[in-house]
Structures are given as structure tokens and as C-alpha cells.
């Protein structure tokens, strides 16, 4: 093997660090302070100062993030008392950061209830009242006009989203168009849940896919995995004026989200688990939306599923959405 110290060609005796370095090997340096050491110490001090300066913005952040929040456990592991403490902290935060008095509940899924949603595309007129109601109900960031619902203007005779447009701004409905609102389809086999590395998102017993906003690490893998573009990320701290904040909140749905975490439609579980209807349905002026318990044979949603020609989006992916579309014949 050609090792430089044994190879006869090597000009170097093997005693110097490398070419271009005239200093003697440091291991042989006598103890005592050489000029080199002083320069190095100076460099190190400057370096430490530079690091501190570079990372200074992080210290500003620690003022906002409390220790309790940092060590908070996963939703499913919180005891009743711990949950109460967390809710108290969140309520206080809403007061401190937003100046709003809110109540945060934690309604549980009702036994035997499985939610389903259906939408009549023959009636929907594209007015986007549902999206607006969602925006207000769920305490979305105001500047970004966020909403869990996107309404597509589609060309008649085609189901191709490529020919759709979610950014129309003309009077509706247009004669040769129909309108397709899309929100979380609460898939039976949600790919967003499978991919989450920390189980920050899961499917509840009543069929709603939820996110623990205090557990999500913000990797956005679930957003990449969702084929319905149903997930939204908090790219900044949400901004909402105090007087516009919806005070009726729950832990897993519309409470004000922290910066840097994922969120999504929850079928307004803070309403629906208490027997009310989702905000988007209440806001719909045409009655295109039908919501209810899929397990109840007398529910309106079951009537739609049994009597209409119903379809789901991207059926070929096999995710079994619990959100259905239909046309009046």
C-alpha cells in the first residue's frame, strides 16, 4: 500500500501537518501562551458572539412559547385534569395574544354516530357562502382569506379539474358552468393519517379526521399526501381582530391555531357533536348541502345515498371518502 510516510517518493518526513503549513506540530508546543493561542482565543470569542447574534431571533420566540406548552403530551394521553389545565392555558393565551374571551370545549364522538356529507351539484350556484362561513366559524387567518372549502367553477360536460377554476370573480352562476365545492373528504382510509410521523392526526370514531395542533411538528407530509388539497398549514401566526373571533371553540376544531402547524376541516365537530349542523351547511342559501349520521337509516343523508346517483371524487385512489356528490336527474 502506498502510504506517504513509508513511501520513498514522499519528500515529507511525516513530521509536518501539511504543505503550506510552516508551524511546528502543535503537539510539541510548550505550554505557555503563544501568539497563535491568543489569536485563536480571540477568534473563538468572536465566533461565539457571532453565533449568539445569528440565533438571537429564537430567543424572542421563547417569550411566546411556555414550558408547559413545550412538554405538553399528546391529546390521547392527557388525563382529564391535564386537559383542563391545557384548556385553561389556551384560554389565557387567546386573551393575552388576541384579546378575546373564548370558551374551549372538548366534545367527544357520540356512540353509534358516523358523519357523512353530501352535496347536490345541480343546485350549488357557486356563491361561496359556505367558504365564507367556514372562514368565520373556524377562526381562520384574515389576511390570507383562508377557508377549508375551495369552490371550483367547472365546465359542463366535464369532471376534469384541469378545466376548473377556483379563482373566478364574476356573477354566478354562469350558464355553461357548474360549481363544485371541495373540502376534506374525511376519507375512510385517510393517507394523511398514515404518513404522519408523530400521530398528530388521526380518524375519530365518528369519522372525522382531526389534528392535535399542539402535537403536530409541521412537517407537511400529510399535506403532500392528501389528494384533495384539503389541508392547510399555518405559515404565520394567524391574525384575527378580537371582535371577529368566534368564541365557541373546541380543542380539536376551531380554536386559534399556533404558528407552524397543520389544520383541516373537522365537519365543525364543536357543533355537530352537539347536534347542530356544520357552519357551511347553515350558510348555504340553495340547500345544496346535506349532512347527517350515516348509521341512522332515517337520516336525510341516507335517503340521498339510497335514492340519488351518488359519486365520490378520485374513487380510483380507493380512499373511500365520506363526502359524496350527486346531481338531480
Amino acid at each position: 500500500m502506498n502510504d506517504p510516510s513509508t513511501s520513498p517518493k514522499t519528500p515529507c518526513s511525516g513530521n509536518c501537518a501539511c504543505s503550506g503549513n510552516s508551524a511546528p506540530p502543535p503537539a510539541d508546543e510548550p505550554t505557555g501562551i503563544s501568539r497563535r493561542t491568543v489569536v485563536k482565543a480571540l477568534g473563538a470569542t468572536l465566533g461565539v458572539a457571532a453565533y449568539a447574534k445569528a440565533l438571537a431571533p429564537l430567543t424572542e420566540l421563547t417569550k411566546e412559547t411556555s414550558m408547559d406548552e413545550f412538554i405538553q403530551k399528546h391529546y390521547k394521553e392527557l388525563s382529564k385534569e391535564e386537559m383542563a389545565a391545557v384548556i385553561q392555558r389556551l384560554t389565557q393565551e387567546a386573551k393575552d395574544h388576541y384579546g378575546a374571551d373564548v370558551t374551549i370545549s372538548d366534545p367527544q364522538p357520540v356512540d353509534g354516530v358516523k358523519f357523512g356529507y353530501a352535496l347536490n351539484l345541480s343546485i350549488c350556484n357557486g356563491c361561496r357562502k359556505c367558504a365564507e362561513a367556514c372562514h368565520l366559524e373556524n377562526n381562520h387567518d384574515r389576511p390570507s382569506h383562508q377557508s377549508y372549502i375551495r369552490v371550483f367553477e367547472m365546465s359542463k360536460g366535464s369532471m376534469d379539474f384541469e378545466k376548473g377554476n377556483a379563482h373566478y370573480d364574476h356573477p354566478v352562476p354562469q350558464p355553461d358552468k357548474y360549481y363544485m365545492p371541495v373540502q376534506c373528504q374525511q376519507c375512510e382510509h385517510p393517507p394523511c393519517v398514515d404518513v404522519c410521523p408523530v400521530e398528530a392526526t388521526w380518524k375519530e370514531k365518528d369519522g372525522v379526521v382531526v389534528v392535535d395542533y399542539n402535537w403536530c411538528i409541521g412537517c407537511r407530509y400529510c399535506e403532500a399526501a392528501c389528494p384533495y388539497h384539503a389541508r392547510r398549514f399555518n405559515w404565520t401566526k394567524p391574525q384575527i381582530p378580537a371582535e371577529e373571533i368566534n368564541p365557541n371553540q373546541s380543542y380539536l376544531s376551531n380554536r386559534i391555531r399556533p404558528q407552524g402547524v397543520m389544520e383541516k376541516c373537522t365537519f365543525c365537530l364543536h357543533r355537530t357533536r352537539e347536534g347542530r349542523l356544520p357552519a357551511c351547511l347553515e350558510a348555504c342559501p340553495t340547500g345544496a348541502r346535506v349532512f347527517g349520521n350515516l348509521n341512522d337509516p332515517n337520516s336525510e343523508i341516507r335517503w340521498v345515498l339510497e335514492n340519488k346517483r351518488v359519486f365520490v371524487l378520485k374513487e380510483e385512489l380507493g380512499l373511500k371518502p365520506q363526502f359524496f356528490y350527486f346531481f338531480d336527474e
Partner: protein, 436 residues
Amino acid sequence: MSDPTPSVSPATSDVPEWRRYLRFLGNAVSQSVEGGWKFYVWMTLLTAIFLVGANAWAIQVRDGMAVTGMSDHVSWALYIANFTFLVGLAAGGVMMVIPAYLYNDKEMHDIVLIGELLAIASVIMAIMFVVCDLGRPDRFWHMMPIVGKFNFPISMLTWDVIVLNGYLLINVHICGYLLYKRYRGQPPVAKMYVPFVFLSIIWAISIHTVTAFLYCGLGGRPFWNTALLAPRFLTSAFVSGPAFIIVAIQIIRRLTHHRFGDGAIRTLVGIIRITILVNLLMVASEVFVEFYTGGSHTGAAKYLYFGLHGHHELVPWIWTAVAFNIIAAIMFMRGRLNELPVWLNTACFLAFAGIWIEKGMGMIIPAFIPSALHEIVEYRPSLTEWKVTAGIWALGFMIYTLLLKITINVYSRNMRDAQGQRTIESKDALAFGEHI
């Protein structure tokens, strides 16, 4: 190989092994920061770039990811692109081990450590890119098994965490062990590292395969949803890894007295010659399927190569990559590589940059454009993202430089244990591969 233990242990048993090892680490650190003015300029420059990146990242954590160019439509971008590329580089680095050990190519033995060190530096960078992509890095502990919640085996990301960290450990062990033995002037004991070398080969394939599965397992993203993704990843890793190492070897040759045989470079060139063509072939077959089939699934490929409905952001990128790859392939085919170092280095640079674009920007971003519901929202990296990216690369280069310095110090006997003089003269410890 005769058993080396009797010749060494009696005289050295007075100092416990762990103390020696700690002293070795201490020596390694203190000597690695010694150098000539060129070294200091280089490290200062890298530190400065790194600090700019660290500052940009700190601001991103404070103000939110809105300071990046990403959006709900394009939710993974430059960071994840670099992550993907670096996993490939890490895998490619260790692939040098295959010719060295499987075919017992003696000249490649010199290069093995250079490759393993590259793997260490790249994996660290890859992990840093993922951390920088997190919206809540303060919650990283949620990802740790036991204290957090580890969604294993369902989430591919948890697999990736395991394979990347495992890979890091394996390579740190191999390099650390071999260097330490060499520092002590003892021949390495085969069973202490050879099994790990073979493990690292398999592991190298696994890190890149698992990373490919991160993407191709998503049914909702047709651009990624192809079985060719993992093989394509591996082939391009076989291009970028050797290309980097060739250039690194040339630089080491120039700056130090440490010599590597030409044969090793010839083997690496031989690897690239084939893999660069296979990679081009795979790209071509994917492009063929996309465009010949047509339909709405073609949207992403159309956007990438030609632009879609007046949106062209990625077109210059991808054609640069295509041009670089083709020119590099031609250059590697020509015979002048051995006479003209500039020619060889240029070819390597073109191949490296070409793969960086193709596997990064060209692989991650088009999957989001058009979006799952066919909306087109374009992406352009923000200044913050460029700063953070440059910062991580600078740190990677720092790590690699320091690791190389330690290695060369040990090899050239500048750094050795007091007893190291009594080396086994006949069998140079450098030839650690001979103990298989």
C-alpha cells in the same frame, strides 16, 4: 493474517482502552483545527456562510414559514429537494465500498474512508434540511421513540428517521474504528468492522429506497407515483457520489502529500460512465410514458419541461439539468479524462450539478404543480431559503473538511498514539481491506 493481539497488548495494558480512545478523539479535534492560512480562510468563509444561514433559519422559526416561497399548493420545496439529493450523495459515497470489498479492488481501499466520511457529512446535512423544513422544530422530541409518538411502521418518514440515523451510526463506527486502529498503529480486527462494511452497503441502498418510497407511495401525486423512482434515485446516486469523490481526491492530492492511486479514479470514472447513461435512459423512459400517454396526468411533466398555461418557472432549471447531464455523459465517454484533470473535474461538476437539479427542484416541485386539484401556483425559492440552504451546505463542507483532515493526519502519521511507532511494519494498516 495472524492474530495481532499478542504483539501489542502486553505493553499497552497499563492504560485502559477507553482513555486511549478519548485521547484519540481529543487529539483528532485539536489537530483538525490546526492548519495553514488557506485552511483558516476556507473555514472562516464557511463559518460566515453558515452563520448567515443560521440567522435566516432563526428568523424563519420566529416569523413562520411564510418567509419561504412555499405555500399550501407547493408545500415541500428547496429544503426537501436538497434533502433528497443529499440522501443520494450519502448512499453514493458508500457505494465505493462495493468495488473495494466485493471485487477486492485494492486500489479502492484508499478511497473507502473518503466515501464513508462523505456519507457522514451528507447524512448530517440531510437531517438538518429536514429539521429546517419543520414548522415546529421545538417539537422535534415528538418524533423520538418512547418519549414521543413514533408512527412505526406505517409512516415512511419514521422509516427514514431510522435508516438515516442508523446509517450515520454505522459509518461513524467504521470510520472511527479504522482511524483509531491506524492511529494506534495496530491492524484492525476484521470482525470489528467488516460486518459493518457489508451492512453499510445494504444500508446505503435502503436509505435511498426508503426516501424514494416517501414520495412514490403517495397515490395522490401522479408525478411521483412511479415504480421507477427508487431505481432512478439509486442510479443518480451512483453518479453524484463518485463525481464528488473524484474531485475531493484531486483536491487532497494537490493540497497534501497524501497520494491516491490513479486506479481508484479510473474505477470511479468507470462507474460514472455507465450510471450516467442508465440515469439518462430512465429519465427518457419516464418522459416517454408521460408524454406519449397524454391525459391530465401529464400536467406536471409538461409544466416541468415546457411550462403549462403560461407558467414556466421550472423550465430553465430542468433544461440546464438535461444539458449538464448530457454534456457530462459525453465528456465521460471521451478518453481525455486521464490526461486532463480540468476536463475530468468539469465533467464531474456538470454531472453533480445536473443531478442536484434533476433530483431536487426537478423532482420535488413539479409534483405540486399543478396541485392535486389542478390549480397552478408557482414556486420560487425565497432569499431566506437560499440562505438556509447555503448555510447547511457550508456546515457540511466544514464537517467534511475536518473529517478529512483528521483522516489525513492519521494516515500521514502526524497524529498517532505514543506506542504507535511500534507499528506492524510489513502489513501497512492502511490496507484494512485485506483482513476480509
